[in-house]
C-alpha cells in the first residue's frame, strides 16, 4: 500500500489568498512530482524533484512554487490564488531511475472562488 499523503483533500478558498498544498511520503523515495488534472482530463506535470534541494519545472507552466527541504516532504505553494487555479493537484513519488513505479496520493481538489 502506498504511503503518500496529501492534505487537505478539498479546499475552497477566496481569490488572492496564499495557499500551500502538502504532500508527504514515508517510503524514502527520492523522486517526487506534482501533477495538475482537471476532472476527466490529462495529467499535466507542473513540478518535480529528484532529491533534497532540487526542484524543476514540468511540462505545464504553473504559477505555483515548490520546495524540497526534506526527503519526505514536497509542498506546493500558490502565493495568490486565482479562479484559473481551480483544479485537482496530485502528488506522486518513486525511488531511483526510470524503471520504477510511481505511487500517487489521493489528490487535493482546489476551488478558488
Amino acid at each position: 500500500e502506498a504511503d503518500i499523503y496529501q492534505t487537505p483533500r478539498y479546499l475552497v478558498i477566496g481569490t488572492g489568498k496564499k495557499i500551500t498544498l502538502e504532500c508527504s511520503q514515508t517510503m524514502g523515495h527520492d523522486k517526487m512530482y506534482w501533477y495538475q488534472q482537471d476532472p476527466g482530463m490529462e495529467l499535466h506535470l507542473i513540478h518535480y524533484s529528484y532529491g533534497v534541494n532540487s526542484t524543476e519545472k514540468g511540462d505545464l507552466s504553473s504559477e505555483s512554487t515548490v520546495s524540497r527541504i526534506r526527503t519526505e516532504h514536497f509542498p506546493l505553494t500558490l502565493e495568490s490564488a486565482r479562479p484559473s487555479h481551480t483544479s485537482q493537484y496530485l502528488c506522486a513519488s518513486r525511488w531511483g531511475g526510470v524503471n520504477t513505479e510511481a505511487f500517487f496520493g489521493q489528490g487535493t481538489r482546489l476551488t478558488v472562488v
Binding site: 523522486k31 512530482y33 501533477y35 476527466g40 482530463m41 490529462e42 495529467l43 506535470l45 518535480y48 529528484y50 524543476e56 514540468g58 511540462d59 496530485l90 506522486a92 518513486r94 531511475g97 526510470v98 524503471n99 520504477t100 513505479e101 510511481a102 505511487f103 500517487f104 496520493g105 489521493q106 489528490g107
Partner: protein, 110 residues
C-alpha cells in the same frame, strides 16, 4: 515532451478486447501504464523497459517497440473492473521526469 495516446475513448462490452496506443517523438527508455478510476488516484499497472523487460500486472499485457517509439496496452476479455482512464507515461533518464499522455477512457458495459 508528453507522449501521445490513442484512442481518446473506447466503449466495450464485457469479454471484448481493446488496444490502447502510446507514442513519443523522443527515444523511449521506459513506458509506464497506469489506470485511474473516477475520483481515485492513478494506480500502477506495468512498466516496459528498453530491451524487453516487463514488470507489472498479470492480466493486462503490453508491448514496447523501441524502434517505432511506441507502446500498446492490450485489454483482453475485458471485465467491468477494467473501466477507467488509462495513462501512459514516459520516463527520462537524464532528468527523472515522468510525463503522461492525455489518457484513454475505457468504459466496459455488461
Amino acid at each position: 515532451q508528453q507522449p501521445v495516446q490513442s484512442p481518446q475513448a473506447v466503449i466495450l462490452r464485457e469479454g471484448e478486447d481493446a488496444v490502447i496506443n502510446c507514442s513519443s517523438s523522443k527515444a523511449l527508455y521506459s513506458v509506464h501504464w497506469y489506470r485511474q478510476k473516477h475520483g481515485e488516484a492513478p494506480v500502477f499497472l506495468m512498466i516496459l523497459l528498453k530491451g524487453g523487460e516487463q514488470k507489472g500486472h498479470e492480466k493486462i499485457s503490453a508491448s514496447f517497440n523501441e524502434k517505432k517509439q511506441q507502446s500498446s496496452l492490450y485489454l483482453t476479455a475485458s471485465q467491468l473492473s477494467y473501466s477507467g482512464t488509462y495513462f501512459c507515461g514516459t520516463g527520462d533518464p537524464d532528468d527523472y521526469k515522468l510525463s503522461f499522455g492525455a489518457g484513454t477512457t475505457v468504459t466496459v458495459r455488461a
